[in-house]
């Protein structure tokens, strides 16, 4: 029942030039449907790994048995408070979801669309005026995704690089760096909340400090829990998705041509790319001893539901390792499943689709620049570090 498998240390999980970490983890489907991996978190803890989509659904739905409160961020500081709503379990979870859902529901995200598109256009036009190649991550994906979310939080663009740096240290830095970044982010969110309390504007943080749940205002810890989650969630996930997607299109000119010819397909194609290049591992904590598919899970054990594994489950998707941009009935779970379905998923989707649309309509045929190799890595959030595209 124990297997040498880790999203952090297995082959292809460390930074790898021209790597394909998703293909590397797809081999988990040769394994039993559940096994124990002694070293599968950043801090070296073991987790049970659930490999089948069907079983992941069971875990993620059963919030009575599997808690979402892992205090992943606070524990980096030796503290214990939840990021909200991610690390709350029902029924408290539902209260905060209802508060925040209207801010990010699909129709409201449509209202943000023109601003998102304009941001993409400005960045891409700048790139194409300057050169016939660029590092997509540094020049487009990060500034695009991060500025949208700064806009959402009500913060100016000027500190974009600082925030991206904090995010990198937090998500991919080691020990001390990570703790320092976590501390910086908490202090920043606390300050921002204090400022908005004194001088309300019409941004997200103001909404949060003025909001009420169950007829009472939020506590400082709750405000912080929400602020930190929104901050962390928006920092690198969308940028990473755009990076993996453009790398795929650079390597697969036929599909690139298809989307250029028929831009209407980009929406569906983006879903397939989300499936094939899912980036997030969800972890739950067992609230009690339970027998799961023959495995003796003990109270307090970690259970890993890696979206990148579920979304390549052959029982769920025909030819899961083939990327078929026209795939239909694509019930992928890149944004998780169950009550904790990603709150920002609709915004993320629009950013990805708009990013691809504008990139394809403004940049001619592109490929990966000769003698360069994008570096990919596994981990808690899969990533791509650099992507030099060339259209000379």
């Amino acid at each position: 029942m124990v297997r040498d498998f880790s999203l952090f240390t297995s082959p292809g999980m460390g930074p790898t030039p021209d790597g394909d970490p998703h293909a590397a983890v797809a081999c988990a489907h040769d394994a039993p449907s559940i096994f124990y991996s002694p070293n599968n978190t950043r801090d070296g803890r073991g987790t049970w790994v659930i490999t089948r989509a069907k079983d992941q659904r069971r875990v993620l739905h059963d919030t009575a048995t599997f808690s979402s409160h892992r205090s992943i961020f606070a524990s980096a500081l030796g503290e214990n408070w939840p990021m909200i709503p991610l690390e709350l379990d029902p029924p408290a979870h539902g209260v905060f979801r209802s508060l925040l859902n209207p801010l990010l529901e699909p129709k409201r995200v449509m209202v943000l669309e023109p601003a998102i598109r304009e941001r993409a256009i400005v960045l891409i036009d700048g790139i194409s005026a300057a050169s016939t190649n660029c590092d997509v991550m540094k020049d487009f994906a990060f500034p695009f995704a991060v500025s949208i979310f700064l806009h959402f939080l009500g913060l100016p663009d000027e500190r974009l690089d600082t925030f991206v740096g904090w995010g990198k240290d937090l998500l991919h830095g080691e020990g001390v760096k990570r703790t320092a970044a976590a501390r910086t982010i908490v202090a920043f969110i606390d300050d921002l909340a204090a400022v908005r309390r004194k001088e309300p504007t019409d941004d997200f943080m103001t909404f949060v400090v003025e909001a009420k749940v169950d007829g009472r205002p939020l506590t400082d810890e709750e405000v912080r829990g929400i602020g930190v989650l929104v901050f962390v969630a928006g920092l690198d996930t969308v940028a990473t998705a755009i990076g993996f997607d453009l790398a795929y299109l650079a390597r697969n000119p036929k599909d690139q041509q298809l989307l250029r010819r028929e831009p209407d397909r980009i929406g569906l194609a983006a879903e397939e790319l989300l499936r094939a290049y899912s980036t997030v591992q969800m972890i739950r904590v067992a609230k009690k001893d339970i027998e799961f598919e023959g495995a003796p899970i003990r109270k307090g054990d970690y259970i890993s539901c890696a979206t990148m594994i579920a979304n390549r489950d052959p029982a769920e998707f025909e030819n899961p390792n083939t990327i078929d941009l026209a795939r239909e009935d694509n019930r992928h779970t890149a944004f998780a499943y169950g009550p904790h379905r990603c709150l920002g998923s609709h915004l993320a989707r629009r950013e990805i689709v708009i990013g691809l649309e504008e990139w394809l309509s403004r940049i001619p045929d592109f490929r990966i620049k000769e003698d360069t190799a994008p570096i990919t890595y596994g981990g808690h959030v899969f990533g791509i570090e650099n992507l030099i595209l060339d259209w000379s």
Binding site: R97, S98, N101, P102, L104, E105, P106, K107, G267, E271, E328, D329, N330, R331, H332, T333, F335, Y337, G338, P339, R341, S345, H346
Partner: protein, 83 residues
């Protein structure tokens, strides 16, 4: 075609709505409205795609009713139009 809505299962992915916004209506939080949906024939393709994209399997396509109607109309043996 009818779509049975298990709205207790809906978690607001809005995949159904993305395929067929005219068929699937969402509330202000982005969750599907309660109540089964009668789908007009011209919307069937998109509605089916939407229902099949639901990661929560909250939308069940009910073809039993169509099948019944078919049998009633075309199978004389089951006592349909036998004039």
């Amino acid at each position: 075609m009818r779509i049975i809505v298990h709205n207790d299962k809906c978690q607001g992915h809005a995949r159904c709505w993305a395929h067929a916004p005219d068929v699937f209506k969402l509330d202000d939080e982005g969750y599907i409205l309660a109540g089964d949906i009668e789908v007009a024939e011209r919307d069937e393709l998109l509605a089916t795609r939407g229902a099949r994209s639901c990661p929560e399997r909250a939308l069940e396509i009910d073809r039993a009713f169509d099948a019944l109607l078919d049998r009633f109309l075309f199978n004389q043996a089951c006592g349909g139009f036998n004039t």
